[in-house]
Symmetry: C3
Subunit: 348 residues, 3 copies
């Protein structure tokens, strides 16, 4: 994909300064750019790299425009403009309708003629695959699954029976959507499985990372709102609800029936207990341990950052005594108070 | 599946109050129930929902029976009775024996005629698949694997060579059982892999979650007892042994050669070091960091719950000084003791 | 594989004491050994087991050689020698070249005639599979992927388009290499995906555990050096670089653009933030939370080990007050200092 700067600027809504006939065909980092590449300056601390860049054009903000030796596209949000330009230069391959002859497709499945079903993919009874959908190799599309228009299953995605996927979803390899969740009643020492009859329901523009799991609801559904983005290795328990545009980084786990609001960001390896309520616009930092509801927007954290092991061992030993240390501190305060009063009496 | 209350009560061992001819066909939550549904009251805090429920019948305990406007099934353990009723109303689809024509089955594999092998599944040499087993689509059943009667592999399960699965197991998509574990000897800077010649051996009624891994033993076997239940994304290292009816929630990892007793519950994202001994009836709460053996039954915890990030940063800074703070506290106590003694001498 | 001790000693470079005609055919633990097995004593605390072992031969160090009732192979590094002997006794099955008829191979892929492509595996356009490579069942080899000589993909491995794998790699089931990483720009509340045009590049002798993910670079590549060993369930973000012979245990996650040196060991469930720099020979203990760069070799730790829940709750409550406790301690020190000065003045 090759495009000249005049056309690119128009398509991403940036203002061009420099030769509009210059052609770019791919993106590159400022310090690794070559002729024909488009780069960007998102962070002022890399400004010094502008002088020596070999990019054919750079996206940057008004404040940096004068310092660039090559044509520039000026934007109020250079990173977003770069994302949009990169999508123009590196579009996904177009979807060509059809079913690979090695796929195993149940005759009752309804596959839009503009959708692609890849090699060695299984499509079970009554599944419905919408227009423009790309189902890559080795996927399993369970009974009664529905996939909305223009969604893309990269490869080896498993959608268990009844799962609903919205439009323009992007599902990565190893994702498992709609597994029967972890629900048991206890009968003495024995665990009795409770049938999980709800579904997993994904909105539009949802992304699910590699090897991420979203369990189906026990009764009622597990629901991911529009624009929810999940990274790799995430666990979403049964009946969790996640609001629109909330994003989660890798290795995070959300226990059953927890409800998370809109526009939250949840960093990597966070753990949330079940049946919690998390408001809109809540942000958790990495490895946060979430054991109660958070009803106010804000940034929340937990955990002990790494330190040299010797110091860590000494401090951890004290942590085990922390309640006792606090009691001794209180005792000292009381003793000092008494001594002060005694001294006061002596002096009066 | 539709059933009248008289028959349902008899099958689950509950006592019916109300019209035994009423039919139910599925389960629902109290506040989302409609005609034809069966609901339950497990927790007294939802008792107020009874008055307005539209369920056709409710399972509850003796204490709540009078407050229910619809027929009730009285049980000493409503949640367990509900689980059993739900299993009657929502049975798994019966297994029809056969092998899908797209499966790749080695001629030396022995598949019981009442077992099903799904589309695009691989069954390698000398595998043995028992009566009533369901092997879903896209599974890999390695060489010499044995699967006991009535087990169910939902889809895309990988059983590596030699893995043994008991009866009535339930294995979810993405599970990998019997991988060669992480064992190396060091040769200077280079790692030399140690062949892993043990097996993974799963008892009866074991459940393995989506994308969960159970590594084979290095020498000797990795062993999961009867009734062990593992949620998604769990890692079980080589030569781990887990006692009967122990359950683990998602994202937990158990390092090699650790032995866990019976009837333990291990919450989500717990990490255990290797070569530990965990007694029967031990319970770890979420994200617990287990670095030593626990030989007494009980509940154990660790971790710092999330708090506003500003407060967290201040407290973490103090944690780094904790040993020093404890020493200063001790010093203060000593000083005060000396002052008190001095004061005592003055006063005498 | 049966071998006599004279030949085995020569091949592993150990010195034999005892009957060189004795045959061994497999390895076993000292206390579970039987005739025909080779065992080893790596840790002096098991020395008492020597007297009663039924092994046909034992690998051990000079210091223990006299105490063994059966033939011994003396080595300076018994564990390494055992690893090498075990590899001789338990070699992987030889790779027989060919393509299983059920595989779906694009005609433009180049597969060396000595390589094996297993049942129900997909090989896409322009992939290149080197000599002696074993691609097990149900793998997906994406467009333009290259796999170096003698690598082994056990089963169900996914290599996304463009991924490069070196020689003698070992990739376990469920691994996903080269996924498009988690990169978005924000447009108001909406997330805009940034195309991920880099690759995942794995060196020689790399091992990737079951269900482990290595994302491709955003711009530029994600790079794993020679001899890198990753356990199961690991997440490697886009543009991470890992130096030669660094090993990581299960459930660890490394965020984007972090660079890790050579010969590091990273234990289980460690989490690293993005854009960090970790020096060579750095070691993190289990569940460490790495939020800043570590530029000096050493051992680093974090986290709170598990304790009885009651004590934990009390100590955690104090942790929330830790900054306040430290201020009160400082206040006490000041008060005491003032009292001491006052007392000093009185006494003078």
């Amino acid at each position: 994909m090759e495009i000249n700067l005049t056309e690119l600027a128009a398509r991403v809504g940036a203002s061009l300064r420099g030769d509009g006939d210059v052609l770019v065909s791919r993106v590159a980092q400022l310090n690794q750019a070559a002729e024909g590449t488009l780069s960007f300056l998102g962070d002022a601390k890399y400004r010094a790299r502008l002088a020596e860049t070999r990019a054919s054009a750079v996206i940057l903000s008004e404040a940096d425009a004068d310092q660039c030796p090559v044509p520039v596209l000026v934007s109020k949000n250079p990173y977003l403009t770069f994302a949009e330009a990169a999508r123009i230069l590196h579009p996904p391959a177009p979807v060509v309708g059809g079913v690979h002859p090695s796929a195993a497709v149940d005759p009752s499945a309804r596959i839009d003629p503009t959708a692609w079903v890849g090699p060695l993919t299984v499509v079970e009874a009554d599944a419905v695959i919408g227009a423009g959908v790309f189902v890559g190799p080795s996927c399993v599309i369970g009974q009664g699954v529905r996939i909305g228009e223009d969604s893309r299953l990269v490869a080896r995605v498993t959608l268990c029976a009844g799962t609903q996927v919205g439009r323009r979803a992007l599902l990565h390899p190893g994702a498992v959507i709609g597994r029967e969740g972890f629900g048991f009643a206890r009968d003495g020492e024995r665990w009795v499985r409770i049938p999980q009859i709800g579904r997993a329901v994904l909105g539009d523009d949802v992304e699910i990372g590699a090897n991420t799991c979203v369990d189906r609801g026990a009764i009622g559904d597990t629901v991911l709102g529009d624009g929810v983005k999940l990274d790799n290795h995430i666990q979403i328990g049964h009946n969790v609800e996640i609001g629109d545009n909330t994003a989660m980084a890798a290795n995070t786990g959300i226990s059953g029936s927890t409800r998370i609001g809109r526009n939250c960001t949840i960093a990597g390896a966070v753990g949330m207990a079940g049946h919690l309520e998390i408001a809109d616009n809540v942000h958790f930092t990495g490895m946060a341990m979430v054991t109660k509801s958070f009803l106010e927007p804000g940034v929340y954290s937990s955990g002990i950052p790494a330190m040299p092991s010797g110091a860590w061992r000494r401090n951890v030993a004290r942590f085990r005594q922390l309640d006792e240390l606090a009691r001794r501190l209180k005792q000292l305060e009381t003793s000092l108070e008494i001594m002060n009063q005694a001294q006061g009496r002596e002096e009066s």
